[in-house]
């Protein structure tokens, strides 16, 4: 990412913080900068190691909490499914998954056009793809109702 794009992102981050009434602490900037300067989809631990280089006193907890805060204001995303206990699926039939981000439930749905997605040549050539699926996240019926209570 070039310097220009980075500055824009940081401005956007500041705006989101202010909108949510969050304080602009040095730790938050440092964590956010570390996050947007990598495309490795880091764990909290990895960000921690990176940030410590310039801010040795920061704690892993702060990094953890900051990252969660970032996802709440939309400045970061959690890679689908990660951070949850392992869940198993014994169905061999074609289906796709919807994860409710509130109650954590995984709901199956089946939309036949999603069963055989066409991948670009670029991917097929590079990776050995063993599984391909459409993945949705959001609020399930029950949790949408809870919201309005």
């Amino acid at each position: 990412m070039d310097k220009q794009a980075q500055t824009l992102k940081i401005k956007d981050f500041e705006r989101r913080c202010r909108q949510s009434g969050l304080k602009l602490t040095p730790q938050r900037f440092a964590v956010y900068r570390a996050l947007i300067n990598t495309d490795a989809h880091p764990t909290a631990e990895a960000i921690y190691q990176e940030v410590r280089k310039e801010m040795p006193a920061i704690s892993l907890d702060t990094v953890n909490r900051t990252l969660l805060t970032l996802t709440e204001i939309g400045s970061a995303f959690i890679v689908e499914g990660t951070g949850q206990p392992r869940r198993f699926d014994g169905g061999l039939e074609d289906h796709q998954h919807f994860l409710c981000i509130k109650c954590g439930k995984v709901i199956d749905f089946h939309h036949p056009p999603f069963d055989n997605i066409q991948l670009p040549q670029e991917i097929e050539g590079k990776f050995k793809v063993l599984r391909k699926t459409v993945y949705l996240e959001g609020l399930c019926e029950a949790c949408q109702k809870k919201d309005t209570l």
Copy 2:
């Protein structure tokens, strides 16, 4: 699932076990039956609670190990991403994820046709979809090479 389909699945499971030289233990049958009799995408803990009803002496470890074994012979799947430490993504640009099941690395790719997948009315009406993406799993370039060594 009807009785017929269940029997077929269990036959298939037996076949896979034999093919891989795995013993057909009562625990394995019990775990597999519990798994295919639910569509809740259970955690190991949930399967454990279920299996204990008919086999009180089984241990959680065995359930855990059995479930992992099932995924290895293709009789079960791990719901995408679950069971791994939380990973963050600071990119707001459209992109999709490929997970290497061997080294655990998440690799971004971007195939514009995947940016705006059309969902069926059935889903849009029922859930509040906040995120939709195509998700791939398989072996990355580096790990494919390792395989042939």
